[in-house]
Symmetry: C2
């Protein structure tokens, strides 16, 4: 498997990215990585590191995209590291692309260069969310806002295919994120989506409420990308805050220092289970190719894991499976494509 890796994207680029690539190469023998970005910067990072040099290439990209940059301007750059990494997949020179760069730009360019899968109206981000039991796939975690019921129908199909073939859940439990379990609870979007998804032959469990998300009963949770992104980021912020508040509470006790020593390991175990770095990144589902969008704060470990899942998804032909799933069921939509109105 050949992975095109945007070496310039993310808060700790290029050092964390190159370090992550080296870790991945040393751990997985069937991997080749093309580091895309400023050749000089990448070479400097590689210097003195131990790695199988035959399995690394550098593809020079003279431009980078800043995190605060206007997406419209960034998308037009023909020589950015994001663009050139995606181009490699399009040209068949890489099997998958990984970037921790500006996620809006990565999404837009993946869609422009690789295109949406036949039959998919809107590609979506699938984010794995840790729970008390096993993780579930939140889809859409932020690729689209103002989605239609037909979009959510397709998110359900894509999520179902992902959960079955990538997560290995034989009959994934699919739910719509809403504000009550009954079909009648929710907004226009969820109520109309319910009607479309219910007869689609999935293991549909109906609506799920926010309070039940982390109990781990669902395998796939479907929502508009605005809501999904808010759930994703609120959860991230809250989990960090809870730990911070607990540490503060522990510190304020007379036995604080000792107590902290006792639970240090537990906190580490918890962090490992909930850390985004363990998942590496979120796939953009519904495009013609494998594209992993990593967290802006990606560490080398996150990048290593992102490269690993990119290879895995590509090997399992994830995007072809999704295309088939969509095309076998799109006929169930009352009107073709995203013309089903949210109202």
């Amino acid at each position: 498997m050949i992975i095109a890796l945007d070496a310039m994207g993310g808060d700790y680029a290029p050092s964390a990215i190159v370090e992550g690539a080296v870790e991945a190469l040393n751990e997985y023998e069937d991997l080749e990585i093309i580091l895309v970005g400023d050749e000089r910067a990448i070479t400097k990072e590689l210097l003195g590191k131990q790695f199988p040099s035959l399995r690394v290439k550098i593809n020079h990209a003279p431009e980078a995209v800043g995190m605060g940059e206007s997406p419209m301007a960034a998308i037009r750059k023909k020589n950015s590291s994001i663009r050139k990494a995606i181009d490699l997949v399009k040209a068949g020179e890489a099997h998958a692309v990984v970037s921790a760069g500006h996620s809006g730009v990565v999404m837009a360019l993946a869609l422009i260069v690789l295109g949406a899968s036949t039959g998919v109206d809107r590609p979506a981000i699938g984010a794995l969310m840790p729970t008390f039991k096993k993780p579930f796939l939140l889809i859409d975690a932020g690729a689209n806002v103002d989605s239609t019921p037909a979009n959510l129908f397709q998110f359900a199909l894509m999520g179902n295919a992902f959960a079955k073939h990538i997560l290995g859940r034989p009959s994934p439990r699919v739910a719509i994120l809403s504000i009550g379990e009954e079909e009648s609870k929710g907004n226009e979007l969820t109520k109309e989506s319910f009607k479309l998804i219910q007869p689609a032959g999935l293991n549909f469990m109906g609506n799920i409420e926010g309070k039940d998300l982390f109990a781990g009963e669902a395998d796939v949770v479907v929502c508009d990308g605005f809501v999904g992104n808010i759930v994703l980021k609120t959860s991230e912020g809250l989990a960090e805050t809870v730990i911070k508040m607990l540490k503060q509470e522990i510190g304020s006790l007379p036995t604080g220092r000792l107590g902290y020593l006792f639970i240090k390991k537990a906190l580490r175990g918890f962090k490992k289970k909930t850390d985004y770095a363990e998942y590496g990144g979120a796939p953009l589902l519904g495009i013609n190719g494998t594209c992993i969008i990593s967290h802006g704060r990606s560490t080398s470990k996150a990048i290593k894991n992102a490269v690993k899942i990119a290879a895995e998804f590509s090997r399992k032909k994830m995007f072809e499976i999704i295309r088939e799933e969509i095309n076998s069921k799109n006929a169930m939509l009352p009107l073709k494509g995203n013309t089903v109105a949210a109202g």
Copy 2:
């Protein structure tokens, strides 16, 4: 202050409700409580309890509303405890109403019986959310779905008035919950709302992302009730899950039992800071009267605190302050009321 308390609403009614009333009466000397519900059940709960009996009345309501009941049917019941408790406020026999019953039914009846404040298109639920610093008000936490920009504009005004006069924040920082800080980030609703709220003369900090909610920088966070309810319930579920996962991690260590003893107090301190029972309930803002919607799982402590804030809001003439705030700024809306479309 006279509080009408729905004695039959909530998972632990009537015992937790009556117990909460007794605690409130013993703690606050200026309170009178009218317990509304099945007279026999209430009398039985009161038996043997110590409390100032001159400050308690029972108002018999022969019907109750079940948590799983159809809201449409429940709203039509003229003799339910929820209805009769709200009727007491309408009749001027109580200053405020508190219910831990079916929240959709409480909202609907409060709106039908008491009416929306002049100029308010949609009353909204304001929920206090704990953060690392001070709590913020999330508005709307679930009264409305599919809100318009004009609705969000009014939520911002109501939240601002609440934060200033009830939370005592001299210049409340008001934000819109969105998926990026820039004005251009969000869905149609947030982008249009941004344009309305920005010039309204509030201490407007722009958009806030989910990850920053719990840092405690904002005093008021404005959103559609669908999104707000999902944020509220996701946070509740996640905080519980984090604690559960941590306990599990601690328990799996060889030093587990000892470690747990050390942090038990810290967990208790954390729980106190984040427990919904500390806030008692969420006010329905924008109606002609004071109505507190308590959590279905309300304990006696939650009810005691709900009664306390009901008296406080009523004493501070909260609903009149909100009406004035709305009416002084409604003229800023380009079109009157909620006719500004979300698209």
